[in-house]
């Protein structure tokens, strides 16, 4: 079994890219990653996208990207795990490296939400839930989160003003990030006064329509030795749970996160306290809170305390979402996990600019499909 | 007329939607005089309601009272003039929703406001003939009121359901006799593709409503040997709060026997459910042994009249489900703008 290294990353800016197509975005990110790694060919490609078959009516993305990169001939495969599709692509590529079947694999995440009208995108996002049950009654991803939010505030007696601190943190971190969708600070009042998307969830606790592609080049040990570029070691694990949070024992607990994270830590021979930098999947503020608790970084009902005490800030004990997270860096659906892992790589290779956290040698990214129906835990460490 | 051997109501239920619009509010929009309004207020279906959903509501209440397993219901017939589909029976959806499928016959009836009693005649006959063990007859409508027209004040929404069986021991009331009086009298109609019906104003009175009801009731009483003294309640089709009282007078029936079943003043004219909801209201209060005269009227035109005798079983079964008053009291007023949205009067 070979170790897996990230040898290069490429990110497009996250925005509503009216003039750029899906194909253009995925190719731009891929070329940036190949250039960053200093290689021009790979053995195979895995590409994750959640919404392209619906919004662009385009499947067969692996083959498409291979052609766009002038690499037709190599195996190239589309991978899907709802909003964790980008992580699923990384997972597939990593396993191929680990098995010894490939020396270098290009893994990509892409989604282009702005091609759809808001109602279409809202409906398309439900393709990651049980369509015939939850989608059928008109529940939306945000309404499911809102129910969890409501139950959470009730059970733990935590006010919204505590949970809404999370998007405020994310925006602070995004200020100096060139590829971020919203590189500006926001105040807590702004979040609390923003209109309801689905009460109690407010607009500024959710993410916006976004387009983006992020790519990584994964290599084995042998290839890593030949490359000059900075590298990190990657260990990625995955776990699943019931598709609908409300069929689980407890909707306020994400076992998939707990399992994936434990597996990854165990394989990396690390303890939770060895993780010095964290990428949380904050598709909504409440998801970030429950994720923190479910992965054991905070006691149940108390994650807000980490926020209030500044522990999750750049100079805190556990810097979190250092490039802005889903809220401020942006959340182009299935592409997001690739951004998360690429950003951790930039941090650990000292290329995070003003947001650099020098003391961090090991990072963890949690990528979720649905409301933690799928969870990927990616550990990166400096080499 | 036709002798009925054995047909009893084993379960009954009435449903009215939550929303109400006051006649005063409708008058306000159209600049009409508020002094002579035909009803106080009328019921308005919710955004997600239609004839089928209301029929199911009423049917479920009737089933609760009947205590009959739905799979034993051999016929489901819905009488309505506001079917959601011009072609596709409401009855199949109702039958499916209550679990009466697949050993069931189902089709919809149309005869304007007497479609419900029409369905009841048919179900009663199937049971009486021994073709089915139980049958479900429903009258339901989300009546279409032409904006600005006199009938807009009264066109309302509601449903009434009756489960008919043979066994008197299961019955809340027995259908003793019925008759129909029908002629071709075009007092009110709606052509295909038209949103709203047309009516002939004063012509809908004497030659239509009164002529058919009076003759239907007279025939029923004479042919089946009943006198006015045999009747404890008289329930008529209720297009407005006045007509039933005039009909009672014409027939020589004491007004006090008519008032208990008169509900149109505060829920409006529920068309195919109108007289049947009056029957439900009476069943919610009548005592064993009392007799109810039911006379519906459907434009086009015709009147079905029934003699129904209340049985002992009514006391227990009545308490098994909410009475009609619970639905009548459950109300929220809406203004004309919300009403127009609910009733899809806004062209999109």
């Amino acid at each position: 079994m070979s170790k897996v290294y990230v040898a290069g990353v490429g990110l497009t800016k996250i925005d509503e890219h009216w003039w750029m197509s899906l194909e253009y975005l995925m190719t731009e990110a891929s070329l940036k990653a190949l250039d960053d790694a200093g290689i021009s060919r790979v053995d195979s490609i895995y590409i994750g996208s959640m919404l392209s078959p619906i919004l662009q009516e385009q499947s067969h993305l692996g083959t498409l990207l291979a052609e766009e990169l002038g690499l037709s001939g190599i195996p190239a495969i589309g991978v899907e795990a709802a909003s964790a599709s980008g992580a699923a692509a990384v997972y597939a590529g990593a396993r191929e490296i680990e098995s010894g079947r490939a020396n270098a694999v290009l893994v990509v995440g892409v989604d282009k939400m702005s091609d759809g009208m808001a109602e279409e995108v809202t409906a398309a996002m439900m393709s990651g839930e049980r369509q015939e049950y939850v989608g059928f009654i008109g529940a939306t991803f945000y309404s499911i989160n809102a129910l969890i939010y409501s139950l959470y505030m009730d059970r733990y007696n935590v006010g919204q003003e505590k949970i809404a601190l999370f998007p405020v943190l994310c925006h602070e971190h995004a200020v100096n990030i060139p590829h971020a969708q919203y590189p500006f600070k926001i105040k807590l009042e702004t979040v609390l006064n923003s209109p309801y998307i689905s009460e109690p969830l407010r607009r500024f606790e959710t993410t916006a329509i976004a387009d983006g592609a992020a790519a990584l080049v994964l290599v084995n040990e042998e290839t890593a030795k030949k490359l000059d570029t900075p590298k990190t070691e990657l260990i990625i694990e995955a776990s699943t749970d019931y598709l609908t949070p409300f069929q689980r024992e407890d909707p306020l607990w994400f076992p998939a996160i707990q399992l994936a994270t434990s597996k990854a830590l165990s394989r990396a021979k690390l303890e939770r306290r060895d993780v010095k930098i964290l990428e949380l999947y904050d598709a909504t503020s409440i998801m970030a809170i429950v994720s923190l608790e479910s992965s054991g970084f905070a006691e149940r009902g108390k994650a807000w305390q980490l926020l209030e005490k500044g522990e999750l800030g750049l100079s805190g004990a556990l810097p979190c979402n250092t490039f802005g997270g889903l809220k401020a860096r942006g959340h182009p659906a299935g592409a997001t996990p690739a951004y998360q892992i690429a950003e951790l790589h930039l941090q650990l290779t000292h290329r995070a600019g003003k947001n650099q956290v020098d003391s961090a040698k090991t990072g963890l990214a949690q990528s979720l499909g649905g409301v933690a129906s799928t969870a990927f835990a990616s550990i990166l460490r400096e080499v | 007329m036709v002798r009925i051997n054995s047909a009893v109501i084993v379960g009954y239920g009435g449903y009215v939607p939550r929303y109400r619009i006051r006649s005063e509010e409708i008058a306000r929009i159209w600049g009409r005089d508020k002094s002579e309004l035909p009803v106080e207020e009328k019921s308005v279906a919710g955004l997600d309601e239609d004839t089928v959903t209301m029929a199911v509501e009423a049917a479920r209440i009737a089933i609760k009272r009947a205590g009959v397993p739905p799979s034993k219901i051999g016929a489901v017939h819905v009488g309505t003039e506001s079917k959601p589909y011009a072609v596709k029976p409401s009855g199949t959806i109702v039958a499916e929703a209550i679990g009466a499928v697949p050993s069931v016959t189902a089709a919809d009836f149309e005869f304007a406001c007497k479609a419900g009693t029409e369905a009841l005649q048919f179900i009663t006959s199937l049971v009486d003939a021994g073709r089915i063990e139980y049958g479900l007859a429903i009258g339901a409508d989300t009546a279409q009121g032409r904006p600005g027209d006199a009938l807009e004040f009264t066109a309302a929404c509601g449903a009434a359901a009756f489960i008919i069986g043979r066994d008197k021991n299961e019955g809340v009331a027995e259908i003793e006799a019925w008759t129909s009086y029908v002629t071709d009298t075009p007092d009110f109609w709606r052509r295909e593709y038209e949103h709203y019906p047309h009516h002939t104003a004063r012509f809908t009175g004497d030659p239509a409503y009164f002529h058919h009801i009076v003759n239907s009731v007279k025939n029923l009483l004479e042919n089946d040997g009943y006198t006015l003294n045999d009747i404890d309640y008289a329930v008529f089709h209720q297009p407005n709060a006045r007509f039933p009282l005039v009909a009672a007078k014409l027939l020589g029936i004491d007004l006090e026997k008519t008032k208990p079943g008169l509900i149109t003043g505060y829920i409006g004219n529920t068309y195919a459910a109108s007289s049947l909801l009056g029957l439900v209201k009476v069943l919610d209060q009548a005592k064993s042994g009392q007799r109810i005269l039911l006379a519906s009227f459907g434009s086009g035109a015709g009147s079905d009249s029934y003699i129904i005798r209340v049985l002992e079983g009514i006391e227990v079964k009545r308490s098994l489900a909410p009475t009609l008053d619970k639905f009548i009291e459950r109300k929220t007023y809406i203004d004309y703008a919300i009403y127009a949205r609910h009733r899809k009067k806004i062209l999109m």
């Binding site: 009208m117 808001a118 109602e119 279409e120 809202t122 409906a123 439900m126 015939e132 049950y133 939850v134 989608g135 059928f136 009654i137 008109g138 529940a139 939306t140 945000y142 309404s143 809102a146 129910l147 409501s150 139950l151 009730d154 209109p195 309801y196 998307i197 689905s198 009460e199 109690p200 969830l201 019931y242 609908t244 409300f246 069929q247 909707p251 | 939607p17 939550r18 919710g46 955004l47 997600d48 309601e49 239609d50 089928v52 959903t53 199911v56 509501e57 479920r60 959601p84 589909y85 959806i93 499916e96 929703a97 209550i98 679990g99 909410p322 619970k326 639905f327 459950r330 929220t332």
Partner: protein
């Protein structure tokens, strides 16, 4: 344009109209759609059940950013309900305004229109919950 695929709609009418479901004979887990193997205990024996129509409201939210096909109904209420037999289910709440809703209140199932195909106009009916009468 919002479309309803008739076979998909028709296939699950037992559940949507009558709350017919399956329960695992071994562990009692409820499955809304025909299961082959229990998601919880992996047993393969099931019994057909009709879920109770009454329950209590555990949580609710108001959808203000609707998906395609639901624009005309918006805003509408989604509730998380615990039925009398312990089954937990999501459903729209109807015949009520958000201000009237309280956690723990009794609700009951009813049949209502849920969506309509925008081209061929077929109507989809489904269970919804309303405050108990």
């Amino acid at each position: 344009m919002f479309r309803i695929k008739v076979p998909r709609y028709w296939r699950h009418k037992d559940f949507r109209y009558r709350l017919n479901a399956w329960k695992c004979n071994h562990c009692g887990e409820t499955h809304f759609f025909q299961p082959l193997i229990c998601r919880k205990c992996r047993s393969r024996e099931f019994s057909r059940v009709t879920l109770p129509e009454s329950g209590k409201l555990l949580a609710y939210t108001v959808v203000r950013s609707p998906p395609e096909g639901f624009e005309a109904q918006s805003p509408y209420i989604i509730g998380f309900i615990e039925l009398e037999d312990g089954t937990r289910i999501l459903g729209q709440l109807t015949d009520c305004y958000p201000e009237e809703l309280k956690q723990g209140m009794r609700v009951e199932a009813t049949l209502r229109r849920i969506r309509e195909d925008e081209e061929d106009k077929i109507i989809a009916y489904c269970y919804k919950f309303r405050p108990a009468i």
